[in-house]
Symmetry: C2
Subunit: 396 residues, 2 copies
């Protein structure tokens, strides 16, 4: 078992606790196979069954308390100062450790805004309240800790994301050779799944709509399963939104193709105009994306650009974190909508990896939509793959 990333992230967590001046961070989980806490894989590479408490303090002390049959997995990591096993209840060991270390605040994994910091179930919260009844500890949200811990990618994490993006770029090239008239969205999705299987990777998100394939002017837009109903024809656009999980890290990329009939020598003006507007909006976002900027400000730039170009606003955020998952935590490059909670007010940090994405629908042709993956650094942004700068033309 490879613990490289978990050891990096645990060390990073200590620094973040010091920076934010929070005494202790507690990840409290059970049965993570079907009740996952998105924070757990950052600090522990396997699932747990019984109640498990992983405590990291500002002073760098690290304690794992786990069921008898699972403690070995923590002992093997070699980074926990104490690995404590229990049989009947975790409560005595947890209280003994907390009473000994006496943190003033304990940050736990809940958040209204940030799903990636909201791994503590309400039932587990009630259990913790019951365990700690009468104790002086102040329970606070770990959302700030997790936003930074998840968002600031380490070198090993960035290398893995680049590898996932590179593989996706390669598969995009294969799709270009495969496309022709008469293919349904479902056939195209099945082809992509076949390429994933050859590479031994799985889709970045739900197989039912990764890839999302949108063919021609009539297909519905969004997180929709590819259907057998919409079939490629000359003068259609084809838009594919996809990504792969490679070595636990993901890619998330949209590309657009145009099926050009014989005799047609240029891309129809409405399609080209839409592409230029979408690409321009992405570059507008890129230009303001840097450490210290609020997420919503990045979205504003793209949104103003696309509206000024004469298109409707996109009904989503222009960008989201990527990493272990396809929506990898808070600080959304998104509009200040209630639906997004506090995430658009988050601040971009160096080491963040974001998508930049939007699209417009072109009547009579179809969806024109792009999505690029970007790394933010102190010295400017880097594309994580090769951005799409022109429509991919398939001669048919």
């Amino acid at each position: 078992m490879d613990y490289t990333i978990q050891l990096e992230k645990i060390q990073q967590a200590v620094g973040i606790l010091q920076e934010k001046n929070i005494d202790a961070w507690l990840t409290f989980v059970r049965e993570t196979e079907h009740n996952a806490d998105p924070a757990l894989p950052l600090i522990c590479p396997v699932n747990v069954t019984w109640h498990t408490a992983l405590l990291i303090t500002k002073s760098g002390y690290k304690v794992a308390i786990a069921g008898r049959y699972e403690i070995v997995n923590f002992e093997r990591m070699g980074c926990w100062d104490e690995c404590i096993k229990y049989d009947q209840s975790i409560q005595p060991a947890l209280l003994e450790v907390l009473d000994r270390l006496a943190p003033q605040q304990i940050a736990v994994n809940y958040s209204e805004s940030d799903t990636a910091a909201d791994g503590l179930s309400h039932g587990m919260y009630l259990t913790l309240q019951r365990y700690l009844a009468g104790k002086p500890y102040q329970i606070i949200s770990a959302e700030g800790i997790l936003n930074s811990l998840r968002g600031r990618k380490t070198p090993a994490e960035i290398a893995r994301i680049r590898a996932a993006v590179a593989l996706t770029d390669d598969i995009i090239g294969r799709i270009t050779k495969y496309l022709k008239p008469g293919l349904s969205e479902l056939e195209i999705a099945n082809y992509v799944h076949g390429e994933y299987a050859k590479e031994g990777v799985i889709p970045s998100w739900d197989t039912a709509y990764c890839p999302t394939v949108t063919v021609g002017p009539d297909s519905p837009q969004g997180h929709v399963s590819p259907s057998a109903e919409y079939v490629t024809a000359p003068r259609n656009t084809v838009r594919i939104d996809q990504g792969v999980v490679l070595n636990d890290y993901i890619s998330d990329i949209q590309r657009v193709w145009y099926l050009q009939p014989a005799g047609e020598t240029s891309i129809p003006q409405p399609v080209q105009h839409a592409f230029d507007a979408v690409r321009g909006a992405i570059m507008a976002a890129w230009d303001v994306l840097k450490p210290g900027v609020q997420g919503a400000v990045v979205d504003d730039a793209a949104r103003n650009f696309i509206v000024t170009a004469g298109y409707p606003e996109y009904q989503h955020a222009v960008g989201h974190h990527i990493g272990r998952t396809v929506h990898d935590g808070s600080t959304l490059l998104g509009p200040r909508w209630e639906r997004y909670g506090q995430t658009p007010f988050g601040i971009v940090e160096a080491g963040n990896c974001f998508t930049l994405e939007l699209g417009v629908h072109v009547p009579g042709y179809g969806l024109v939509s792009l999505e690029e993956d970007v790394l933010v650094t102190e010295n400017g942004n880097e594309w994580l793959g090769k951005p799409q700068t022109e429509i991919i033309v398939v001669k048919v």
Copy 2:
């Protein structure tokens, strides 16, 4: 997309709401790709990104409220009386529906005891509290609903579990042919993963310790990753705990082998005695397992048997539900320990599928441990596969 099971379960949910006299059941989720609610797959086959509310009432009325780009997935199911889409916030639509349907109680998915009924995160609970502030609805736990809904397997579900068990039985046969001296736990686990890949299935639980392979007298017991350190030798037992996910349903089976050296004509007495005690304890549990019995009573039977036979108590439950997941909800056939909350006090129902499992360590030889998968019916129990009635001998 195949909705067979979700349509069966949604219909079953209405009956359970009537039986338990609860006005409405609300599943409230977002970003289920990494913050899964174990209840969601029972009623919706795809993940969602934005806040989504799935409301089912006692009168059989069903409403899905989802983000604009995801509502199509619910419309395609054909069973929701209303499919309502939103852009900026789910709150207005949710309040409009609740005010119109006016349920007295709304059951939501949280539970201290039952992880499979604890899919509502604490952050989402706070959001719901905020949305419903000042409203008269009584928020209650859906744990009773989910215990029955998840626990009472429909015919389509039972058929899928049987198929997963049958494939596992077949792979067990292949392992018998493969075993020989000189194989490390890790090599054996890799072989099993290879057979899974050939069949296009994945492990029932974490790949890191499914299968769990325990070789000889010195290997640690439990949910531990197979290691390169412990290598098969003559007169070892080999215990493998494994299962596969086939068509969304799982198996969970333990088998034990004995590597018999040339010239040895019978199984050593300590190993045979342990096997007979373990098998006897499983049959003692089987004999009391029936609808209406408390889970702990089934555990008592096996626990008393194994202790009376002169072995230490096992430090876990003798059985758990299986279904979509390997610990498929509450009513545990387990001891009345704080760690297990209220689950050992649950009542066995017809349609439940359980494991029956325990083991003992035999000094000098290794682990002797069995696990069978069982269906409870009104007319007696059925094995879901072929139970192990004698030690599998591998001549070496």
